[in-house]
């Protein structure tokens, strides 16, 4: 089931979908718009909207604006907001699950969200090798925005890369893998199957 797209402001269909299907959504009902989350956020200045306003936009039924905002991607999971929220809203979980919804429903592509592309590269490495390979994740992320852009970004960060190799923070051989990559893939495939079967509730 895809989330409903309200046709007018303050249509509650999208808000109700979020309450019922997003991780932590039930607590989101209790948000009283105090703004402690936005005030606590260390990278609030890097967000289109703070969490407080994003939650109000959910209530207002502004589905597209919510799912294309960079707020859901720029959260660094520091949990400052969660700790401070007087109504115990698990803000971090909600933002992360909203980003999953954004990918699922194609909003991340439409925005060409930087962080979405990085998350995809990360997920690729994690599922293929069971580990994150700094070199390959970075390369995949750089080139996801096109060949020219990839080369440009790579060249710009050359010095950092060499320094990391030198201090053995990045290695140049074959990527490390976990033992039993086949089993990992089976686990991921099973998880995807369960999710597909149950929808978001799974």
């Amino acid at each position: 089931m895809t989330a409903p797209t309200p046709s007018r402001t303050y249509d509650l269909s999208f808000a109700r979908y979020v309450y019922d299907h997003i991780d932590g959504g039930q607590r989101l009902k209790l948000c009283m718009q105090c703004g402690a989350c936005s005030g606590s956020c260390p990278i609030g200045t890097q967000m289109d909207h703070g969490p407080r306003k994003l939650f109000m936009m959910i209530r207002a039924g502004m589905k597209e604006a919510v799912l294309t905002s960079n707020t859901i991607w720029n959260c660094v999971s520091c949990y400052n907001c969660v700790v401070r929220c007087p109504r115990q809203v698990p803000i971090t979980y909600i933002l992360h699950d909203l980003s999953a919804l954004a990918i699922e429903e194609g909003y991340a592509e439409a925005k060409k969200a930087d962080n979405a592309r990085f998350a995809k590269a990360f997920w690729w490495s994690a599922t293929v090798f069971g580990r994150t390979d700094e070199r390959l994740v970075t390369a995949r992320y750089y080139f996801s925005s096109g060949l020219g852009e990839g080369i440009k970004k790579g060249m710009a960060n050359q010095a950092i890369a060499l320094a990391m190799v030198k201090t053995k923070r990045m290695h140049l051989g074959m990527p490390h893998k976990v033992k039993g990559v086949g089993e990992l893939k089976a686990i991921v495939a099973k998880a995807a199957e369960i999710q597909a079967r149950h929808g978001k509730e799974g």
Binding site: R8, T9, L12, A15, K29, C31, Q33, K53
Partner: protein
């Protein structure tokens, strides 16, 4: 029995070290020739108290003057049966606020004793006024939740009740409501209306006489002896009155800008309550509404309508929204609010409404349009944009409450409205955006008081029948008449029940005290009352007009007549009287004036000025005591004269002080005016007014008007007052010595 004054000087608490006690004894002996003069190392100890007691019992002394600590402390120790006691404050206001062993400190202590010994010569034991029979029945006006609770509680406390209800049925505003805002834990679900059970209880109670379809046509007399006449012609004698006339909803027809009247689907919270009670909420189409918006503060906190917050509308909308959301979870319920005000435990109720899926929009509803469905335009503060909310099936206006401090159905009387002093209004006149509600709301008086000061109950701001929300809850400015419930301030049912209990306790207290001839708050238990010497009276009417409580009426010959149990013993009449013919047994202009004159005034070459501080004993005097406790030092040139209220300050005192050689006079009292702190409502305001009129007199005496000044003091001013005193002493010093010194 002859009056025998005894002096008892304490040497404890450092008094013996800081002062020359032998010199103090000399004052008592040489100047006042007192028969008994004793000192003790610790007068408040068992031995010291026994010393005084023995002298009293032996008849050697009838009036002990105790030179020790402040009269505000050790009152239980220095209390003797059937004896008046005077205290000279040598500790807090002498040795704790002035340097020890100093010449000026010693002079101050000696003057303190002189004032006390002089006071003793003028002091008589008060004889209480107890004429005739006193009634113990309570009159409760208003048969709503407040009145019913009051009646029920009064009966529980052993008093008969006469309950007067204007309509044919008991219950008032809350009659017919099914669910109310929760007052019991966990505060999450609307509760059943407690009213029907209470009505049944009251109707079944034989001690409560209920008069339905009745109003009060006449209230004469005074606490303990109110003569009541009802519209059915019956007359009753009651001891006290509880006013529980409640409130009515604000007139929604004035809310056209919020769409009221444009569509039958724009209704008020009261109208929705009726629909909810009927069990069926429908729109004009007969359908259950699918989208509902509540607009909070509809006509409230709005200078053009009701300037105040009615405190319950937020909780009521939460309750109604929960009821709608629970009835059909698919209903979209919005509450458009500016501030969500959830007093008491209603914050939990707010969470319950959020849990139920009610959506809260913070912002002002600017417009309600009626097209294809209703649209509310909200200036949404949280989204930062103007949001059209709609189409809506139902719009509910959360209107506020208007106090029934007058009977709106009765015609306004020609006489009396102008007598309500417009001197209490907490909004500054400078705030032009605020237009206060008229002092006298529309309609006639409820109690029809047969008082010199008119038939109405004086009102506080916005027409509520109260005198001070915080300091004197329930007390109106008419003694023995106590207001409770929404007629006093906006409140919900749980608060109303508490309020009714409080007002009943006040009423019971006045019934008991009136029968004993004793005063009620703030001079609880005071047995004195003003006596007017009619032979000197010039019928100027200042006492009848200035009394803050309307205690003095006029006879047909225009002579003043005191209703003793209405009196609160502030002495404002005594301060007002131009011929000084009003006095209490234990408090008079003569007594104060003699105390002023008792102080030794050094001649001008001594360079020891004397400043008279006339201090209100409710706030200023305790603040000065506290200054001493904190060891704040101030000039030893001041002589402090405590008065019951600055209102009792007669201009003669100022005249006597200045002609007697004092270099300055300072009146220290509570804040007068709009947001007054005066314990007697307007005593300090009256003092201020009197003061404004003496500048000319001073000039004619060739005295500088700056020699007399007024200082506002509150109980919290203990650190500030010493500085103020020192500054004033410096100012008087620059003016120079009083030319009348030594004459």
């Amino acid at each position: 029995m002859d009056k025998k004054t005894g002096a008892y000087l304490c040497q404890g608490c450092g008094l013996g070290d800081a002062l020359d006690i032998a010199a103090l004894e000399k004052v008592a002996k040489a100047e006042f020739k007192l028969p008994v003069i004793k000192t003790h190392a610790c007068l408040c100890g068992d031995e010291g108290v026994a010393l005084i007691k023995a002298d009293l019992e032996a008849g050697a002394v009838t009036l002990p003057v105790i030179g020790a600590c402040s009269p505000r402390v050790m009152t239980d120790r220095f209390q003797f049966p059937n004896a008046q006691v005077l205290r000279a404050n040598l500790r807090e206001q002498v040795i704790w606020s002035h340097p020890a062993g100093d010449e000026d400190t010693q002079m101050l202590a000696e003057d303190m004793l002189r004032m006390a010994f002089t006071q003793a010569t003028k002091l008589n034991a008060p004889t209480p006024w107890k004429e005739g029979e006193f009634a113990t029945t309570l009159l409760v006006v208003g048969g709503g939740y407040a009145g019913l609770t009051a009646a029920n509680e009064a009966v529980k406390a052993g008093h008969d009740v006469l309950l007067v209800e204007k309509s044919a049925q008991l219950g008032g505003s809350a009659r017919g409501w099914t669910k109310v805002v929760p007052s019991d834990p966990p505060y999450r679900e609307p509760q059943d209306n407690p009213l029907p059970a209470l009505v049944a209880k009251v109707e079944a109670n034989k001690a409560i006489r209920v008069a339905r379809n009745a109003t009060v046509t006449k209230t004469a007399g005074m606490p303990g002896k109110f003569q009541i006449e009802l519209s059915d012609g019956s007359t009753h004698l009651v001891g006290a009155i509880v006013l529980a006339t409640g409130s009515r909803p604000y007139d929604a027809t004035k809310l056209g800008h919020l769409g009221y009247g444009a569509s039958p689907d724009v209704i008020t919270n009261v109208e929705l309550e009726i629909k909810l009670a009927s069990g069926k909420v429908t729109t004009k189409n007969g359908q259950a509404p699918k989208t509902v918006a509540f607009i909070q503060c509809a006509g409230s906190r709005d200078p053009a309508h009701l300037p105040y917050c009615s405190s319950v509308c937020c909780s009521v909308s939460l309750k109604q929204a929960i009821q709608l959301a629970k009835a059909d979870p698919q209903t979209m319920v919005y509450i458009v609010y500016e501030e969500m005000r959830t007093p008491g435990q209603a914050e939990e109720f707010y969470r319950a409404a959020q849990d139920a899926g009610v959506i809260f929009m913070k912002g002002k509803a600017n417009k309600v349009a009626n097209g294809a469905g209703l649209t509310v335009t909200v200036a949404d503060e949280l989204l930062g944009q103007e949001v059209p909310l709609g189409p809506l099936d139902l719009v509910v206006l959360a209107t506020g409450m208007v106090p029934n401090s007058t009977d709106v159905d009765a015609p306004a009387q020609e006489y009396g409205a102008e007598l309500l002093n417009p001197d209490i209004n907490p909004y500054p006149a400078a705030d032009e955006s605020y237009k206060p509600a008229p002092i006298v709301p529309t309609g006639g008086p409820i109690l029809n008081l047969q008082y010199r000061q008119g038939p109405h109950l004086p009102m506080l701001a916005d027409g509520f029948a109260d005198s001070h929300y915080i300091c004197f809850p329930y007390e109106t400015r008419r003694t023995g008449i106590y207001a409770c419930g929404p007629v006093r301030r906006p409140m919900d049912m749980a608060e109303t029940a508490d309020d009714a209990r409080g007002a009943v306790l006040k009423a019971i207290q006045v019934i008991a005290n009136a029968a004993e001839g004793a005063s009620v708050h703030p001079r609880v238990g005071d047995l004195s009352y003003p006596k007017i010497g009619l032979s000197a009276c010039t019928k100027c009417r200042r006492c009848t007009v200035e009394c803050p409580f309307g205690a003095i009426d006029e006879t047909e010959q225009d002579y003043p007549v005191v209703n003793p149990t209405r009196c609160r013993r502030c002495g404002t009449c005594m301060g007002a009287c131009p011929v000084r013919t009003i006095a209490f047994d234990n408090y008079s202009v003569d007594m104060l004036s003699s105390m002023v004159k008792a102080v030794n005034i050094p001649d001008e070459f001594d360079e020891k000025p004397r400043i008279l501080v006339i201090a209100c004993e409710n706030d200023a005097y305790p603040a000065l005591d506290m200054a001493g406790i904190a060891r704040h030092q101030y000039s030893a040139f001041v002589r402090i004269l405590p008065v019951r209220c600055l209102g009792s300050m007669n201009l003669l005192l100022i005249n006597d002080a200045l002609s007697g050689g004092y270099d300055g006079v300072v009146l220290m009292g509570c804040k007068p005016g709009d947001d007054y702190q005066c314990h007697f409502v307007k005593g300090s305001a009256m003092a201020k007014e009197r003061l404004s009129k003496i500048a000319e007199t001073l000039k004619s005496m060739q005295l500088e008007p700056e020699r007399v000044t007024m200082v506002e003091a509150s109980i919290a001013d203990s650190a500030r007052l010493p500085k103020v005193i020192d500054e004033l002493v410096a100012t008087f010093d620059t003016i120079g010595p009083n030319p009348f010194k030594g004459l």
